[in-house]
Symmetry: C2
Subunit: 189 residues, 2 copies
DNA sequence: CGTTTCCTTGAGCGGTGTCAAGCCGTGTGG
DNA sequence: CCACACGGCTTGACACCGCTCAAGGAAACG
């Protein structure tokens, strides 16, 4: 799991998952975004404020300096347009998570998180699968930071979902969902 | 306070405050954004998913249909660029709130909210004022929906801030902050 | 085999939600 | 003018969800 790096550069995520985190002065942390392939990574026109980008899994990046991007955008309006569309998607996602963070219970948060992974981990797959299996890209502690919970609560809720046969788990990281509908029913939307 | 309306149109907020809300099927609500003058309002390239825009105060809008905007953007790359910059700002704000929603305590949320209003209600004012006075653009219930709390908790925390002489309140809506620094010290950042 | 890291599980506590009552300002109708 | 209802806000009593603290298991690695 790589370390963080300045976001004075821009990158395309070719494979893997990158997490964007914010930290309060006393150490409390919140993950404010996850970027999957083939997302764009970086914040043009401004230093990245207090945002830290960190690899969550092994990651392949295609990276280049900020100035190169801003020059390319001036020459290719199409590029700026695609960037806008991606940022609009990120904004939609951020707002969906705000609902989860502010209004969902712990178990709804976990279910929503698992669903979100299902939908992102393999974007090619059709939207109406019944089953899914995948490796969690985040540790329990990272899931907690993503959902605004503690590690213990994350662990207990996952155990609960497993006890109710909504998911199965192998090796702490591999998740099997036999009926995505049953999982979705617990996401609270 | 006006009603909601479809966001098939686009608008500039000329004055007042517009709230963007999301609602779960069982009625739980979350405000996912506040737009102050002179913000842009609307979501190009896609129907607005499950987002509702609603006036929080009296509002003046300059509104026009979606197609007009998308046509104008093709002709004026500069317009698309300004739109991108605004959406990047909105994304930064959304991520700041995610930290508040996920990791801050009730009283820190209230302090952060009041600070945010101070900074937005009068964008012209310099960043280093000591005092501020303003009308809250939201009711207690709306503040609760914004911060992921209940009305009762909002009320209690505001009472607490008042008891500690961090703020004064007149007529339930008018807030006076004598020392913004003391308020900021309670925001938890 | 010890150490470390991650995860799970238990016990108890506390912050925030829930439920209920009452206050205050405003509007409405007699 | 008063009586009353109504909505927004506050306050209190209590319950519960999720946090804290603590212990121990499981897998990876030296």
């Amino acid at each position: 799991m790589g370390d963080s790096r300045s976001v004075e550069r821009f990158s395309n995520v070719l494979s893997g998952v990158v997490k964007l985190t914010k930290t309060l002065s006393d150490g409390r942390q919140q993950i404010v975004g996850l970027q999957f392939a083939p997302d764009f990574l970086g914040r043009p026109f401004q230093s990245e404020s207090t945002l830290t980008a960190e690899a969550a899994t092994d990651v392949e990046l295609c990276s280049f300096p900020r100035q190169a991007l801003e020059r390319m955008m001036k020459e290719q309006p199409n590029l700026e347009h695609r960037l806008l569309e991606q940022k609009l998607r990120e904004l939609d996602q951020a707002r969906d998570w705000m609902v989860a963070l502010g209004r969902k219970t712990a178990s709804e948060k976990i279910a929503s998180f698992l669903l979100m992974i299902v939908h992102n981990i393999d974007p090619a797959a059709g939207p109406e699968r019944r089953r899914a299996a995948f490796d969690l890209p985040l540790s329990r502690a990272e899931i907690a930071d993503f959902l605004g919970l503690t590690v213990e609560t994350v662990s207990r809720q996952i155990t609960r979902l497993r006890g109710e046969n909504v998911i199965r788990i192998e090796n702490n990281r591999h998740v099997i969902v036999d009926d995505i509908g049953r999982l979705a029913a617990r996401a609270g939307d």
